[in-house]
Amino acid sequence: MSEMVENDAQGSARARSETMQPVPLERAMPSPLIRAVFWGLRVYILAMVVAVIIGFMRGAR
């Protein structure tokens, strides 16, 4: 009986352990819309970086 309980507990622990496995990851293939959004993000980042550089250069003077 105690062996059965132990086996059950081990099985339950194994099931729980399996539910905590990280999902497999593959590189996503973005749709054209998402690719356009990524380009928008690149432009935003570039604009912000340029603004920061200009601001810091003005501040340094």
Binding site: S12, A13, R16, S17, T19, M20, Q21, P22, V23, P24, L25, E26, R27, A28, P30, I34, V37, L41, Y44, I45, A47, M48, V49, A51, V52, I54, G55, F56, R58, G59
Partner: protein
């Protein structure tokens, strides 16, 4: 790297597993999570009220920590200056809206972490490639380092009220941060951090000590008026408050904490409850600080330009030594809890990006590579604060600028991941959540662009 090589990261871990002790530590780490999950499940199924209460106390953690840590030293200073400059008008309702936005954003990280069992950094790296992965990681680590500097500014300023020198208070801050991270495993680490977070509530009795006109506070919700009109200075404060409400590190921290705690899909709604409780506490404390200085400082000559030392001095004059010390204690606590969260956030993100064994359950001697980046950033931040004549104001502004560049990108990746049916399955965002999230991203882009411009090009906005 073309496609995310899922085997590359484990391979690093596997190489380390040749070290039998590390292998044992990794197994123990997994065992701890399984055991904790079993414990929570047993409590959840309990029919007794005490069991349910214990379950609630056990399941809370990442959500409350992230929200309270967001009321960091910089946040406390921003809220205090906002109340001093604008009183109890526009900002109290704005903070409530901010709290709702913070909940909507952070709730997504709970689902993402519980479903994928992967941190935010590795999700970006894995799904969108190494270029975006490196960008996110570099930005996060830099922003965390700069934010840590503001936390140590808060700690040293607060401790100076008690006559403690900056050297001693900075060293104490690093020592507390390092010792609880290195000595404690995830669960006790989380519990100790939660107890420290409770200290954030000190601002609530302080607000009561100010004897505010509650009718004014209530009226603020009905009459959402902009004090003094819509000026560039007002926009700056709005943006600072918005920037204080949601920050990039919060996404990375909560998702990694959910994974390290071992929350599963069947615990998502409890994670959401944890996040909601945290958001409520965050708003309560933020409103208390605005009410405090809005009652005691607003209306004084030059109140809009007071720095934190001047505010502490005035609070001492109005509330006495007890009030002044309580405020200083709150500032020290805010810096400490945020330093704990930021340090863990940096370590988790580095571990996820480079495939190191990454868990607070790892003993220090086996997980040193995981603990090192976070602790190093805390030590560097503490050292910078101690440099005489260090341009701390400049660094503080830089924090906001870096965050302003990063936050829309971080939000965009979060939104993409939450709509990725391949990894999220039935737990993808609902349409209304997407509408709200897109609105937040749009608002962030506009506000952060304006904020960035107002910081680097004064007069342009």
């Amino acid at each position: 790297m073309g496609a995310f090589d899922a085997d590359r990261r484990p391979r690093l871990a596997v190489a380390d597993e040749n070290d039998v002790e590390l292998g044992t530590s990794l197994e123990n780490d997994a065992d701890v999570r399984v055991r904790e999950h079993g414990r929570r499940t047993a409590l959840r199924r309990s029919n007794r009220k005490l069991g349910r209460l214990l379950f609630l106390l056990t399941v809370v953690g990442p959500g409350i920590l992230v929200m309270i840590a967001d009321n960091d030293a910089g946040g406390v200073i921003t809220y205090a200056q906002t109340g001093a400059a604008y009183g109890i008008g526009f900002f109290i309702p704005a903070l409530v809206v901010g709290g709702a936005i913070a909940y909507l954003v952070q709730e997504m990280t709970v689902r993402l972490g519980a479903v994928t069992h992967r941190g935010h950094a590795e999700m970006i790296w894995g799904r969108y490639g190494s270029a975006w992965g490196w960008f996110s990681l570099a930005d996060l680590v830099l922003a965390n380092l700069l934010t840590l500097i503001t936390e140590f500014i808060g700690i040293t300023v607060g401790m100076s009220v008690f006559g403690v020198t900056p050297w001693v208070s900075a060293a104490l801050g690093v020592a507390v941060d390092a010792s609880i991270l290195l000595v404690l495993r995830y669960r006790p680490w989380e519990r100790v951090a939660l107890w420290i977070a409770v200290g954030n509530l000190v601002f609530v009795p302080l607000a009561l000590m100010a004897h505010p006109h509650w009718s004014t506070v209530v009226a603020a919700f009905g009459r959402w008026a902009i004090p003094g009109g819509f000026t560039a200075a007002f926009l700056f404060v709005v943006l600072a408050n918005f920037g204080t409400t949601i920050a990039p590190w919060m996404l990375f921290f909560q998702q990694s904490a959910v994974v390290d705690k071992g929350l599963t899909v069947d615990e998502v709604r409890h994670g959401q409850l944890d996040t909601a409780l945290g958001a409520l506490a965050m708003v309560l404390v933020a409103v208390a600080i605005v009410v405090l200085t809005g009652t005691l400082v607003f209306g004084r000559s030059g109140a809009s330009t007071f720095d934190i030392q001047q505010l502490i001095q005035i609070l001492g004059q109005r509330l006495g030594l007890t009030g002044q010390r309580l405020f200083a204690l709150g500032l020290v606590e805010a810096g400490t809890i945020a330093a704990i969260a930021l340090t863990a956030s940096t370590s988790w993100a580095m571990g996820e990006a480079f495939g190191w064994p990454r868990s607070i359950n790892l003993p220090a001697r086996h997980g040193w590579r995981f603990y090192l980046p976070g602790l190093l950033s805390a030590a560097i931040a503490a050292a910078i604060v101690l440099i005489p004549e260090a341009p701390l104001g400049f660094l503080n502004l830089t924090v906001q600028v870096v965050a302003s560049i990063f936050m829309p990108a971080a939000m965009l990746f979060l939104l993409l991941l939450l709509n990725d049916r391949q990894i999220m399955g039935p737990h993808v965002n609902r349409p209304w959540q997407n509408v709200v999230a897109v609105g937040i991203v749009g608002l962030l882009v506009v506000l952060n662009a304006l904020y960035g411009l107002s910081v680097v090009l004064p007069g342009a906005v």
